[in-house]
Each structure stands twice: as structure tokens, then as C-alpha cells.
């Protein structure tokens, strides 16, 4: 199978029904997307396919119809993505395990809506569970990133 991940073309030796998450983690060694539930209920595995947020645990590689972006592919050289910078500025992570997925969902939201309302944030982020309860900081970081993009 051919996949394009973070701009690189990868040859994945796997059956088409293998979920993208496991192709990335166990075969391509791209470990930013995390395994949390396997049934699209927690968001830890979120990646972008053609810019849309997808739960990679429930997306067979045979159905991947575009370029995949994982958290590893957000930075531009040494410059982190505005969302990652905001995550650092707000000191969002606790255990950190959910955060790659949170960041990918936030990136997708800000691509869609420049200045998301609280309701927009709720709608876009409700699929991403955080057992450490970092939601207050996630909300603040999304607003900060929106502000920094507007100012840029």
C-alpha cells in the first residue's frame, strides 16, 4: 500500500483493512498518534487526511484517500505550528497522552474557523477525551492560537 504521510511517500506492507493507526505506529514507526480506545471514542489517534480530522484507529488504510498529516508533520522546520506554540504557552499537557490528538483536532478546527466560539470549540473537541482534565487549558490554547494567527 502507498501512503503519503507528512509529505513522504511510504510503502506499507499490510492488508488494506489494517487501521491507519497501526500502520503508522507499528509499521511506519510514526508514533505521534496514540492508541486509546480503538473504536473512535477518545480521539487520541486523531490525524488529518486532506486536512480533515480522522480517527486513525477506525480508518482502514485501504480507505485513506489523501495525504495524511500527523503531529510530527505540523512544524515547519524548527518552527512549531501556532497551535503547538499555544499549547506550550498555556502549559496544557499533564500526562500528555491525549495531547497529539487534541492538537490535531485543534489544528483542523482553526483551519475551518478563524476565530472559534466556545461552542465551536465544544463541537470540534468533544471527541477528544482527556483523563487528566486539561480542558480549561486546551480552550485557552485554542483561543491563543486563533489570536496569534489573526495577528500574523
Amino acid at each position: 500500500m502507498q501512503l503519503t504521510v507528512n509529505g513522504n511517500s511510504l510503502d506499507i506492507d499490510a492488508e488494506p483493512d489494517m487501521p491507519l493507526l497501526w500502520a503508522l505506529r507499528d509499521i511506519a514507526n510514526i508514533r505521534g498518534p496514540k492508541f486509546g480506545c480503538g473504536i473512535a471514542m477518545c480521539g487520541a489517534c486523531t490525524v488529518l487526511v486532506n486536512g480533515q480530522p480522522r480517527r486513525s484507529c477506525s480508518l482502514p488504510i485501504g480507505d485513506v484517500d489523501g495525504e495524511v498529516t500527523t503531529v510530527e508533520g505540523l512544524a515547519d522546520g524548527d518552527t512549531l505550528h501556532a497551535v503547538q506554540q499555544a499549547w506550550i504557552a498555556e502549559q496544557v499537557p499533564q500526562c500528555g497522552y491525549c495531547q497529539s490528538g487534541q492538537i490535531m483536532s485543534a489544528v483542523a478546527l482553526l483551519e475551518e474557523v478563524d476565530n472559534p466560539s466556545d461552542e465551536d470549540i465544544d463541537n470540534a473537541m468533544a471527541g477528544n477525551l482527556c483523563r487528566c482534565g486539561t480542558y480549561t487549558q486546551i480552550r485557552a490554547a485554542i483561543k491563543r492560537a486563533a489570536g496569534s494567527k489573526a495577528g500574523a
Binding site: M41, Q84, Q91, P93, Q94, A126, C130
Partner: protein
Amino acid sequence: MGKILRRTFLIGGAAIVGGVAFGAYYVTRPYDNPLEGRTAEGESTFNPFVKITNDNTITIIVPRAEMGQGVTTSLAALVAEELDVTLDAIQVEHGPASAAYYNSAMLEEGAPFPPYEHGLIAETVRDVMGGVGKVLGLQVTGGSSATKDAWMKMREAGCAARETLKAAAAEREGVSASQASTDNGHVVIGDKRIPYGELAEAAAAMSPPSGMELKSESEWSLIGKSQPRTDVLAKSTGAPIFASDVRQPDMLFATVRMNPRLGGPMNSFDASEAEKIAGVVKVVDITGEADELFGGGFAVIATNSWAAFRGADAVKVDWGRANYPETSDELFQTLEAAFDNADTAHVAREDGDTDLVFADAPRDQIVEAEYRVPHLAHATMEPMNATAHLREVDGRMKLDLWTGTQAPTITQSDSAWAAGIEDASDVEIHTTYMGGGFGRRGEVDVTRHAIRVAKHTDGKPVQVIWSREEDMSHDTYRPASIGRMRGIMGDDGLPRAVEISAASPSIIGSVMARTFPSLNPAGPDNTMFQGLHDQAYAIENYKASAHQADISIPIGFWRSVGHSYNAWYFESFLDELAVSAGKDPVEMRIAMLKEHPQAVAVVEKVAEMSNWGTSSGAGTGKGIAYHWSFGAWVAMVIEVSSNSDVISIDNVWAACDLGTVVDPRIVKAQIQSGAVYGLSAALGQEITFRDGMVEQSNFHDYDAMRINQCPTITVELIKNTEHMGGAGEPGTPPAIPALANAIFAATGKRVRTMPLSKEVEFAA
């Protein structure tokens, strides 16, 4: 140490067993520095906490589990403060499993006296328990004790390194040490600034000078100030820092399936279909020895995790029965029966004579209530996993284990035993960052299973990862419990008598039975009555007791342990009493706590933060809870609103006194996190049993609070306490009662069953 730890002694909540008669010599004897012999080329070690290379890389060892609570920042800051370096100039490592990293604060906390009691007997017992921690060398993260335990020893480690660096510089420059000072990673003598790296080798060979002094509070530049987390970059870039991210050459992947009737046997299994699946290597029986309590089960070894999961689904298996009640209804009947069994009752506190008061009181003035809580799963975000590499090296079996563990030394000795390795030093524990812990990652089931799988991989490393379904259905649960209360108000408008009793199985008993099967915990398990007997309320007639039910479902430490339900019983029942007499629940608590100014201060503070006494409008209501746990005084007010009988949680205010705080932002984040963890349980979490199996399997039927349900949370820290309290757990206990009390204030409905969602609907 392997067999000894398993077979000889242990500490539980209140129990110390076997051979505690160690002399002071053993207690004061310092451990060997475990970093000796592990340093890289050009690197020198000063003590178990500090390494410096000659090109100036400074590494601080933080030997505690980083599961989100910020220890890799706040504990590193203790060393850095004294060493006179900033946190961006250092690296942090977890370090090896070693007795040098014992945690005595956690064991002191296990003493059967509330730590705000400083009577002679209380202090003596606490000292003995702390000493035991040192002798046993338990390197454990739990009981919200990490910072408290590190407070002296990690500052002393930084101070000793600083002073020897100064002495080495003075010797080199031919001046007296008093002419040397330090500044941001350099020793300064006159106008010379010498980087620590240049001095490290010479300094590490010297013994620390005598008469060293820690910095005074006014000299602190890191302690008490929020620092950027040392792990924030890794955690914002998806860095492979978790145990499930471990990759080794030739590594295989595997998953396990243990009997869903917990502890029951595996009668037979047929793997023929599973072995046909592409990527499946083999299916093996990993049932342990007869005295182990993890039951029977198998593992599927494969070339990737997905193949392993599919393979496991394809195995046909005949599971045997478990030896506990098969349904949740029967479990609760067992709990009810425990109240009637005088043999297993333990009275933990008896002030005055409640029996007499109730016997004389008019029936209609007595307030009675029964509360119930279910079993709960930890549901850490990262499912259980470990990577094991078991192979022969020069005729000796060696084991490397990568896992997120809250208890590396226990894991090391237990793993040596499970692998059949004589000398535990042939077992290397690589402790990774943890995708959540909450008490679950102190257990040894995950590593025992991984080692049994590694016996079948011909010396290749293997990562054993559980599916979420396996994790949810094979937890060491927070136990179910029933609380029964009765109380009566006095003429002064304060409770005159309160009797509170709780029935639950023993957590310590369950942990010890599976981790240290040959030991018998002595004395009552104080986790059963923590939160009932140790509160600072003055009640003339006050009786607290616990009733132990014998149910062999595996249970364990769940964020705040017994406080997680006992606080609800106590604090919601006090609310019921206040309502019965038309008293304001804040004023009533302040009056009951007047002997303890720290407690009064947090209650008054939270009342002010929340504008207690003013209403935010029709359909809204506020509830208060105050609870002391893990050395922290916490008062919390929650505000809810009810729209067409659907409850939204709008605000949480918390005022906390944990004494000296190393990093305020991290502590506030922990209190917030603890509150969300408790509220998540209230919103709908429940582990139930049918046919001896857990009915819930994943986040669709065991969910947690999500961003759209999360209230605005405001935390303030105040300091009237000299003692240092914990931060990871104390935010959890008051959250549920504050919510239940708020729901009553808003709707008039008193909910006495958890999850509260059984009786009210929460906004989704």
C-alpha cells in the same frame, strides 16, 4: 531482594508486618549511589540525584512516576534551586529502580493518625513507618507524597553538589572555599566564572564539606514560582516518550486475554483460527502459578498490535468461574450483610457516646441516610502495556523491562521472581512517562504478563499491549461501598451527634494478596475509614466505623482511595443535617471547624470566591464540601443550573491549603484535574458485574467528562500550614459531594447513589 520482598514483610495502610525491629543504623545508613557505574564517558555523579558532564550537561534524576502531575518539573526544581541552575539548563531522567529512591512520606501518611495530629504517639508511629520505607527501599509514587518526600532530600542533594563544586573550584584556584559563590551554573571566584562542567570530575571525587546550609526562603528563585514544565515540548510534539512508544530491534507485538471472570481459570483454548491470521506468530498460555490471583489466560504474539488484537478475537476459549458473587446486586447484598457482622467491624473514632444520644432522642429529630457507590475503573488514557526483553547473556538470564510504573523497585523484585532470575540486579527497569496513572500503574499484573509472553519469543523483545476492552475489564477497581449515617442537630444549630459507618472490601488486603501473597496484613485497613475518622470537625458525639466485606474482586488504589467515597458520605450528610435544621452549610462548617484555623480559612476563602449566599438566578444552586486528605485542606463550591431538569455544571471554585507549594501552576492544575476526575465519576461511571464479568468495555459505556461538559474551574492556594500536603489527590474527594449538594440546592432532589446520573440527567 526478589524473594525477600515477596515473602517477608510489607506495609499497608495501617499495617506493618514481620521484622520491623531494625536498629537506627539501618534506618540512617545511606544507600549506595545507583548512578555509579552508569555514567557516560566524561560524566560524573555527585549523589543519586545529580550528574554533570565535563561539557556541562547537567542531569537531575527525578525517581518518581511522571503521570501528569509535574514531578519532572517540580522535583527537578528542588535540586536546581540549590544547585543554582535554571530548569532550561538541565535534563531530567527517571533513573534506575533503586533503594536509594525510597519514599518515606507515603508510608508516614499511612500511619493511623491524621497528619495534622502532632501528639507524641502519633509522631512516633509516623517516624517508625517512615523508617520502614527507608529500610524496605520502596520507590513508590502514590498517596500524593512525591513532593513532600523529596522536599528535604532533593534540596540537600543539590546543595551538596553545589558546595563540592565550590570546594573544587577553590582548591583549583588556591583560595578558601568561602571566597567561592555560585551563579547560574558557574562557580564565581573574584571575576572568574567557571562552568560546573569544568569542575565536575574533581568535585565528584570529593566528599561534600561539612556544615552545608540550604538556601533560606528569601533566597529562593525557583521554589514557589511557576516554571515551564520540562516535559511540555515533548508532549506538544508527539514525542515517543510513553511505554507503548518503545521500539527495540526485532521487537514483536503481543496482546493478552485473561479470564473475564477475574481470577478464574482458563479451562481450554483453541487457537487454530487465530494462527491463520496474517501477522500472528503464535498463541501461548500465560496462566501463572496457582497462588497467583490473575487467573488463566493467553497471549497472541504477532508482528504488529493489530494482528495480535484480531488474533485474540479469533481464539475460542472456555473460561472457568470466578469465586465472587456473579452480579452487582449480589455484591451489594454482601456489603449490606457486612454491617451486621461484628467480627469485621472496626471503630476508628468514638468521641462522646452516640448510642446514648440516639437512644434518648425523639425519632423524628434523627436524620438517617444511606449512600451507595459502585466499582470504578481507572481508565488511564494509555492502556496497560509493557515491553519485555528476556534473554541469556553470558550464561545468565537478563531481563529489560520498559513500562510506566509507579513502583519500580517492587516491579523489579517481582519481575525477577516471575522471570526466574535469582539476582534482581539482572532486571533493569526502564521507567517511561505514563499516559495516566491514578493508582493503576502501581500494579504488577502488566509486567508479569509481559514476562510470561517474553518466555516464548526466543530472546526477542516483545511489547505487550492490552486492548481498551481488556484494560477496562481487568482493572484493579475502586471498590463499591455503602455508607450509613445518622445524626441529630443540637439546640445550638450544630450537629450534636453523628454516626457514620461504611462497608467495603479491603483495598490493602486485595493489593497484598496479589502482589505479596505470602504476607498477612496486620491490623485494620485504614483506607476503609480514611475520610471518616480523620476530619477536623468538632462533634460532641462522633463515631466512625468501617465494616470489611469479603469480596475477592481485585480492587486497588484509585485517585484519593477511601476518601473518594467517604468524603461524599460525610459531606453530603452534613448538608442533609444543615438542611434539616435550616442552617447555612458554610456557617455550620466554620463553627464546627473553629479549632482548626487552616480549615476555617479555606472554607471562608471559597465562600468569598463563589459569592456564597448570592444566587445566580432561578434554577441555579451552589453546594459546598470541605475535606482534608493527603495533608491538604480543601474547600470546594460547585454551581449548577437546571434547565428542564437537565443539569449543567457551571462553576467550580476551590480553595486549598497544602502548605509550602513548589510550583503553584502545577498544583492548581492538579487540583483541577482531581476535580474533573471526581466529576467524571458522578456523570455516569459505573463498573457492574453480570455472570461474574465486568459489563463495561470501552469509553462508549464508561465515559468521562468531556470539554463541552467541563465547568469553569478556579483554584486558589493559601498557606497557613507548615506541613507540606499532596496535590494529586485532594481535589477529587470534595468534588462529588459539592456537586450533589449543588444539585439539591438547585432542584430539591437529594441523590444518594453514584453515579449521580442514575437519578438526574446531565447536559451532554
